[in-house]
């Protein structure tokens, strides 16, 4: 089947992730929605790689996975640190960096 379908699915997942990032308040869930967007990107990459027939897209997708893992580690570390300092784990409350 044509690649179009996969790309469409990827677009839907990306939009869902984008909506989630702007809607949710819990930073953990925001990070999850960020994962959604990354995965959508991965799907598109794999689709294109299949289209062209070379493995470059797959390598790209693997590297994206690595990056996502690192980012999750750090993000979760931050959230844990926040929790340990007894700060509210809520992005609307954490707004001290304002103008």
């Amino acid at each position: 089947m044509s690649i179009n379908w996969y790309l469409l699915v990827s677009a839907i997942i990306f939009s869902l992730g984008a909506a989630g990032v702007t809607i949710r308040r819990n930073p953990l869930v925001i990070l999850l929605c960020l994962e959604l967007m990354l995965n959508a990107g991965n799907l598109a990459l794999i689709g294109f790689s299949r289209m062209w027939g070379d493995g470059a897209g797959e390598i790209f997708a693997i590297v994206v996975m690595v990056i996502a893992a690192c980012e999750v580690a750090i993000g979760l570390g931050i959230i844990v640190a926040l929790y340990r300092r007894r700060l509210p784990v809520d992005v609307d409350e954490l707004k001290d960096l304002h103008g």
């Binding site: 990032v21 702007t22 992005v91 609307d92 103008g99």
Partner: protein, 680 residues
């Protein structure tokens, strides 16, 4: 040391003196500063004499030397050099300037001894001498204007020297503003000349003037009239004369140097230097002569009623400069410059002697309080007599011969110049009266209490509080904000000639010269040192008059002598024999007295018609334009614009992560849209 080097050395000496004193001022003791200042000018005098010697070694027809250091401006069509012009006239001037300045520096070393600003004083004085020498030696009009401006600045600094007195600073400002008005005239006149002739060097200017302009053409007349404005302002002629009496707020040696012997003669020098152009524009020359004559009469009349000693001498200066301006405008060059030389001697002497008697009075300058100083201050008295006889052109003194030569040459022109001749002799009568009024009132009669103190103790009289001689307000340092305060007020101790050797040794040469200086140019050609010396400069004069007119000369000599002797006798009668006479005359002609004592209402006229409108315009501009447009719209507007912009930008920084994320996604959608549209 050739003649192309000595004039630079003449200029360099006071400049180096000024820089040394100014830069090392704090570290020098006052005595050292005074010595350096005096020696610098003395050295300049030595170099001036050397220049004279070298000049006279040149052949008679070619007694001009132009030397230049470098080009100031050298572009297409304009070439101006840092160049000096050494000829008999400028050598004459530098000799007079450096000679009299040396003596005045020596006098100041004694007179200003207890002043707290002693070092500053000598720096200013050296700067003044440098500027005057620059003005006189300048080889083109640009350098002359530079020297002219510096001299005005030096005069301002020295007049407002005791700057804690409001009257002194106001007087300095007045002198400066009127000088600047003259500067404007001078610069505009120079521009007019430049516009037609394209050059500003003296030799090229004088050579080309008669071909570039027609005789008495309007452009040339306007240019020369503007230059005359400059000359009048600097030399305190009507209508720019109001600054000179106020400039007496400065210390007496300053009045002696600047406002008697040197700076005020700059106008005379200017007219003499540019005589080629003035003769080619006879209208302008006529204006100059008439203004000179008017000034000498008006100033003489005011001098008859002034009660402040220094102001009497100031008006006398104004009157004598009127003579000189009248003379050089009427092509009486030898007479004019001869009178300038003798005037420098006797007027400087008179100011120095006046300084001595004012010191003995404890700072009081009013003739109403002075009397009977003959026994108290004998040396000063003799100097006053020498200067007074010379000033009043008593026969055989220097002033007699110089004034006579001047008036003879004016009268010999004939025609309407006879009017000036008559005015000159009327002015001579005024001169005798105001001079001897001053001397009789100060030295004859019963000794006043200050004189009594001097006779008894040999010290100057010390008033309980020191006051401003003009307004009588106390010189009170505690009213000033700064603690330190003797700087800016005169020193408490006063030196007069009998006590101070510097003052005496400065006055003696001048007294001698005031008596015998006439010998250089005796009438009937008996001696003609000066005229033959100045002849190369004025050889290109086109004014024709008979040089030999023994009848007129004899008449003039006799008339002068008669006026001098008779007026002296009258003055003696009025002020010594019958002391109530002057009060009676005053009572008979009160309106005349009022006119004279208000200085012919010039000050009031200027204050109403010039000063007040300018102040009003300034205030109106400040309130309407400056506050509203500049402060409000430009500055206020631009700053509030920036503030508003930054406030708008600041509003985006909410700190909310979701908002930022939304912005990022929004931006992404816009970018995608762009690429989509582009690809379609």
């Amino acid at each position: 040391m050739s003649i192309s080097v000595t004039p630079w050395l003449v200029l360099a000496c006071p400049l180096v003196g000024m820089l040394t004193i100014a830069l090392l001022g704090k570290k020098l003791s006052p005595r050292a500063a005074g010595t350096i200042g005096t020696l610098a000018i003395a050295l300049a005098f030595v170099f001036a004499v050397l220049t004279l010697v070298k000049l006279q070694a040149l052949p008679h027809d070619a007694r001009v030397e132009t030397t230049s250091l470098w080009n100031l401006v050298n572009v297409d069509g304009v070439k101006i050099q840092l160049g000096l012009y050494v000829d008999p006239l400028s050598t004459f001037m530098i000799l007079v300037v450096t000679g009299v300045s040396t003596l005045i520096h020596l006098y100041s070393a004694g007179y200003m001894q207890t002043d707290a600003g002693y070092v500053r004083y000598f720096a200013y004085l050296n700067f003044f001498v440098f500027s005057m020498l620059l003005l006189v030696l300048a080889g083109n009009l640009v350098l002359l204007i530079i020297g002219w401006a510096f001299v005005g600045a030096a005069s301002y600094m020295l007049v407002s020297y005791w700057y804690r007195r409001d009257t002194a600073t106001a007087a300095g400002l007045k002198a400066f503003v009127i000088n600047v008005i003259g500067d404007i005239g001078l610069v505009l006149g120079t521009l007019f000349l430049f516009k037609t002739m394209g050059v500003l060097d003296y030799d090229q200017l004088f050579a080309g003037a008669q071909t570039a302009f027609e005789k008495d053409s309007p452009e040339l007349v306007i240019a020369m009239l503007l230059i005359l404005v400059g000359a009048f302002a600097k030399s305190a002629q009507i209508p720019f004369q109001t600054w000179l009496p106020d400039a007496m707020e400065g210390p007496t040696p300053v009045s002696s140097l600047i406002h008697a012997a040197t700076m005020v003669t700059a106008g005379v020098y200017l007219i003499g230097r540019l005589h080629v152009l003035f003769e080619w524009a006879p209208t302008a020359a006529a204006v100059g002569a008439i203004v000179g004559a008017l000034t000498l009469l008006i100033a003489g009349s005011i001098g008859l009623v002034m009660t402040d000693l220094k102001r009497v001498i100031a008006y006398s200066t104004m009157s004598q400069i009127g003579y000189m301006i009248m003379g050089v405008s009427a092509a009486a060059y030898v007479g004019g410059f001869f009178h300038m030389m003798t005037h420098a001697f006797f007027k400087a002497l008179l100011f120095m002697a006046a300084g001595s008697i004012i010191s003995a009075m404890g700072g009081n300058q009013s003739l109403n309080n002075m009397s009977g100083f003959r026994k108290a201050l004998p040396f000063t008295f003799v100097c006053f007599l020498a200067g007074g006889f010379a000033l009043s052109a008593f026969p055989l003194f220097s002033g007699f011969f110089s004034k006579d030569t001047l008036l003879f040459e004016v009268g010999a022109r004939g025609g309407w110049y006879w009017g000036l001749y008559v005015a000159g002799y009327i002015g001579a009568a005024f001169t005798v009266f105001y001079t001897w009024r001053m001397i009789y009132r100060a030295f004859w009669g019963e000794p006043c209490k200050e004189a009594a103190v001097v006779i008894e103790s040999g010290h100057a009289y010390h008033p309980a509080e020191h006051t401003n001689p003009h307004t009588g307000d106390e010189d009170d340092p505690s009213t000033q904000e700064v603690e330190d305060s003797q700087v800016g007020f005169p020193g408490k101790e006063h030196n007069f000639a009998e006590k101070s050797w510097q003052m005496r040794y400065a006055m003696i040469p001048l007294a001698i010269l005031a008596v015998i200086a006439g010998v250089v140019q005796l009438p009937f050609g008996v001696t003609n040192v000066l005229s033959s010396f100045l002849e190369p400069t004025f050889a290109d004069t086109i004014v024709a008059y008979e040089p030999d007119n023994p009848g007129l000369e004899t008449f003039g000599l006799i008339l002068s002598s008669v006026i001098a002797i008779v007026s002296l006798a009258c003055a003696y009668w009025i002020w010594v024999r019958k002391p109530g006479t002057s009060a009676a005359i005053q009572a008979r002609l009160p309106w005349l007295h009022k006119l004279f004592i208000n200085k012919w209402y010039f000050d009031q006229f200027y204050s109403t018609f010039v000063v007040a409108p300018v102040i009003w315009i300034g205030q109106w501009a400040r309130d309407s334009f400056e506050r509203v447009v500049v402060d409000g719209a430009f500055i206020g507007g631009s700053s509030s614009l920036v503030k508003a912009g930054s406030a708008a930008v600041r509003a985006i920084q909410t700190g909310l992560i979701r908002a930022y994320a939304a912005l990022v996604i929004g931006g992404l959608s816009v970018v995608l849209l762009y690429f989509l549209v582009r690809g379609l």
